[in-house]
Amino acid sequence: MAVSPDDGAAIDLKQPMVAMLLAWLLPGAGHLYQGRRFKGVLFLVVILSVYLTGFVLGGGRVVYWSWKPGEQRWAMACQAGIGIAALPAAAQSMLLNGSGKAAMAGGFMAPPVGLNQPVDEGYARSMIARMPSLSEDDFRQQPRMRVWEFLRDELSIWHHDLGRWFEIGTLYTMIAGMLNMLVIYDAGFGPMGAAASERRGEAEGKGSSSGSEDAAD
């Protein structure tokens, strides 16, 4: 139970941990679960709009996981706050860097292929198909193996093709993720103003009670 800072009404937070998990998975879902419809819809629309706008501005390339030394994607620490909308990036990273050496769905949310990184032949061909600046000459083909070695750096190509849109898209998706962290807190503990007013109320209560004790003395 939390208290509204506006009218002092009680807010039923139901199962706060469940609400927080839902709020992380989908912005506003935790509030909808608690029956706080206005805020749920507001968070859903505002945060997903910011996230999707950034995703589109960044050419669909700005959300990816990469923890390889020297190529860490720190922005993902913020983007992960958006929940399910960023989760495919984790799966794609594991697939591309795993034994299969190929991401699914045409590289949707897949990390960029680095210099000299081996990739599956089929994935190399899909890269050539979706990036006009690439050709088979950009790969070293291993004889009798289905693994090709990339001779360029895909991230540099993205930066070249997208220019400042890559940064703007990254900023939008990061901010969407960080804003959702506030929403997760609100789903678990109620409005932040309520916590402050409760503390204030407690302090005033203590002050007045000690004052009355003084008066009694």
């Binding site: 800072p5 400042r164 506030l182 409005p191």
Partner: protein, 77 residues
């Protein structure tokens, strides 16, 4: 004289947009952040709307001051 103020504001905004490419992309972020800040501090829809405008003004003033400082440093350095 009072009629000049909106014109000056428009000219200033236009020159700012010209000087800082992509500045306009910050406006939706400011609005979104104001909405979320307001909604995480209040429960009543009316209170959220009012607080959103207050947050927007605060964020606009603070970030505007930072931008002005950066621009001034850019001019001097």
């Amino acid at each position: 004289m009072a009629g000049l103020a909106p014109m000056i504001a428009v000219v200033l905004a236009a020159s700012l947009l010209d000087r800082v490419p992509g500045l306009a992309f910050g406006v939706p972020l400011l609005i979104a952040a104001s909405f979320v800040f307001a909604a995480t501090h209040h429960e009543d829809p009316e209170a959220i709307r009012g607080a959103m405008l207050q947050w927007l003004a605060w964020l606009g003033v603070i970030l505007g001051a930072v931008l002005a400082l950066v621009l001034l440093i850019g001019i001097w350095v």
